[in-house]
Amino acid sequence: MQQMNRLLDIYVALQALFALSWCFSDAEPGPVAGSQSNGDRFKIEGRAIVPGVKTQDWISTARILVEGEEYVGFLKTDGSFAVNDVPSGSYVVEIVSPSFRFDPVRVDITSKGKMRARLVNYIKTSEVIRQPYPLQIRSSGPHMYFMKRETWGWTDFLMNPMVMMMVLPLLIIVLLPKVVNTNDPEMRKEMEQSMNMLNPNPELPDVSEFMTKLFSKGSSKSSGGNKGSRSVAPKRR
């Protein structure tokens, strides 16, 4: 029974998914691929541009793929291209190069040979955001194939929040007694008062008491600091 319920749930979920995808397809059914009614063949034209790079350096390794490898075109020496012999339909045109990245474009060809280019959107397949035709495909830069190595530097180490949390209080502990004269009775009174205000619950162990004890023992501060840094170092390698 439980199994049934689960299956039902999945079914409902799938239905919902289906409904969702159904919503995306608008009333306008995009041009239909593969209508072979007449044997007319057309030409997809365009130009690929890589800013700041000479075409000779990259065109020999680049290709134009129309709908996977269904139709293949090559780049001319000036960066322009033409894919011949394409029947009417809707195709994703992509410039493939191992060194530069180009965004794909969807090209629709009607049975009369009218062309239009639009952005590729696999989710809303009938959405039309017009692109210029003949295609002008500009590279968005070289491919970023590689991950960056985590490099180790002193700044990374110091700016680490954990290190900051350990080091700053230490500095306060070490430096405060030197700045403020704790032996002054008035000062001590003031501090106690402020501490009490911060800590209204008298049941809790009193921090100020602990603090004053610590401050009065001036001798142990250096070794305490040493300990602190020692425990930090192996953690933060």
Binding site: I10, G34, I59, S60, V72, P98, Y145, M147, R230
Partner: protein
Amino acid sequence: MAWLVVRLAISVSLLYAASAVFEDQVGKFDWRQQFIGKVRFALFDTHSQASKKLLVATDKNVFASLNSRTGDLFWRHVDKTGPEGHIDALLMYGQDAVVVVGNGRLLRSWETTVGGLKWETVLDTGSFQAAALVGVQDLVKYVAVLKKSAISLHDLSSGSQIWGENLPDSDSVQYQTIYSGENGLVFVLGIVPNSHIVIVEYKIEDGEIMNKKSVEAAWMSSLESSCAVVSSGILLCVDQITQSLYTLPLQSAEQTEMRQIHLQMLDLEVASGFRPVLTSTQPNPAQPPLSEFFLQLSPDHHILLQFKDGLIALLRDFSPVRTNACSINLFSADTGRKHLDTTIIYHMDPNGGKPNRLYVHAFLKKDDSVGYRVMVQTEDLTLTFLQQPGRVVWMREEALADVVTMEMVDLPFTGTQAELEGEFGKKADGLLPMVLKRLSSQFILLQAWLAHLWKLFYDARKPRSSVKHEVTIDILSRDEFNLQKMMLMVTASGKLFGIDSKSGTILWKQYLENIQPNSVFKLIVQRTTAHFPHPPQCTLLIKNKDTGLGSLYVFNPIFGKKSQISVPTLPRPVLQTLLLPVIDQDYAKVLLLIDDQYKVTAFPSTKNVLQQLQDTASSIFFYLVDSSQGKLSGFRLRKDLSTELIWEVVIPTEVQKIVAVKGKRANEHVHSQGRVMGDRSVLYKYLNPNLLAVITESTDTHQERSFVGIFLIDGVTGRIVHEAVQRKARGPVHFVHSENWVVYVYWNSKFRRNEFSVLELFEGAELYNSTVFSSLDRPHAPQVLQQSYIFPAPINTLEATLTEKGITSRHLLVGLPSGNILSLPKMFLDPRRPELVSEQSREENLIPYAPEMPIREEWFINYNQTVSRVRGIYTAPSGLESTCLVVAYGLDIYQTRVFPSKQFDVLKDDYDYILISSVLFGLFFATMISKRLAEVKLLNRAWR
């Protein structure tokens, strides 16, 4: 909204970013080799003396430029596969190469220095016959293309058509060749078989027909092989029956009869049953062909003849010489005399094929003597480039452009390692000998280690460039983590290769002769290297696709030698093969071959094996697929090695056809039996080792009614565990079946996009029988979860990573048409990805559902080393759990390692030894100093 979800998914995926390449790892453990295929046309760039270019067009629809000094590729253009990308002709003039593509559909001109296209024009339909460059007054300006019924002339610099004419009487006359002399005319030669030859003259300027004549030639059936144009426009034909040559000047209007010259007058005779072949050469298209030509009289008998003033003179007779080494000599075409010091001895590889093509580049040296280079292509598609005096400059193994199947085999231990290993295998023979043996083997190890250290030291002193890292089979041994293996590659031409996976060096090659071009191969590893002293053993099943008859070839995968084991003859077509876990006394796994009468042949078939088979026969099942009848059937082995039918599933062929059937990989391990859910309960996986995934496609290809179906069938009982149908979808379907999941990709014809679908099978919260899985005793049907995703790219092939113990998370390796291989974490293909994030799903590390699958460039495992036309990806586990070896093959071969869960079991290669050691030393000294200080302080206090 959807974009938001996608972005969220991507940001989540950032957390799991794994299996990416760091820039400093380039070339460290990966390599790529690029191939072109079988050469159909090759032209040397004779434009300038220093040019190193060699242009080749191959049967793989590749047009490339090779460096003739090194054999490397300058550039390569890979066209569409199939007849539409087929290269019909290659012509070259100066810097331009003109290529006719796709049965005369396209005419392309390439800039050969850069490798860019100059122009491309579409030609009219019609099957391609011939193409020729047309010269006017020593300058080549045009290219003429002859189709079945039309001829067109194009400008060489722009590609624009100058004129195009229909050929007269093209329905009765077969126009076959084209010839242009120096005099502004284009001749088209056609033939009506066994009747007459038609010669049409066209004017170059406007395509006007200047003259048309027909010449009686009742004996002729084809122009192409039996005729050639020599000298200044003399048509020369050879007839086998009358044993004579016929000549006809093309241009003269008055002569309408062919002049007959008997071969007997030259003391020549054509071998009986052989069609003689005439070959002429035209070194410069703007000038007439040479007056010297070759006549082939028998398969290995050529003669060089000269045509002069209407007479034919014999220059040289090349009669066959039978030796093991071939020699190449340069002869002067004018006199037929041999040039001095031009002999190159070509040593034939005993494991290779015979040479069958020669491409010669002759040139004048500085001292006016003649030098030449030659490229030899052999039957087994080896390209050898030779230079005087007989030096092999480079070699290319183009058979590797068409790898059919491959396996990876562990390398053997070195002698010392094997000795150690052998010690444990033997029976104990007393305490003292054991101790002595132990000590001696330890001593050997120490010796080997010292030798290794010495070698390291010795190499380190030499400058780096002089240290050659030559890999030979003798020094290869298994490395510490078993990362280096032997790659066995079977190619379509019937050549086997053994390649070192670390460096890509070809260690051995073996050409199997008499392989039919349409054979299918199956490679089976019967014995690995683990059973020292028995040599490893691989078996290759070669099956003819038409007749189904097969044969076995047994060899040693490490050395490539054919083994001497007697092989069973297979008189009947083989339907199925089965590698059993049963091993014979020599540790070879047993291979069962099932023929079309459902009889079983065992290999090896010793008494021991047959006994074991009898004992286990009742638990040996196998299945057969007949896609033409849509039938899947299961059989059980009987004790007498006959079989009985147990089950049969018929998938009606009128509606759908079986496209592919896949089981799980035998060497796959699954580490965890289930998945821990967010509420701490366990969802157990349905791990049925006998499960088959069957993919069907609808026979109706209309985009509204087409569908893709998937059946999960138990191979033992025939029970259909699950079936699913994807409507408005069509193939090609790529799929992976592993563990408890099936991932498949199809084309959604409604939305025109590729979609991934994943099926996962679970037993539920309880395991029925946790100790052993039996297909016969599983009362509960598994729960099946399914989810689909959009994949924003087309797909060529799909495979999953594989590791030693299956602990590492799985990745899918997707071969894309762009040549990249994407490593996609399986985590993205999890049918339990929730639409709404809950506390539990977050705890399970489930990524929220997003319709579109991300493709990130960091996931391309082969960075810019793209693999053209990737056809298959092979994965193999290594000795390290984190590492999976990957080989992608297609036109190119790429080998690398992937780490799906990063390298968790070894130190990373960027491990900072200096930092760690400096911190450790620092701490050590700090403790020492503080200890000393504390002592001093204590002492002081004690004194106070």
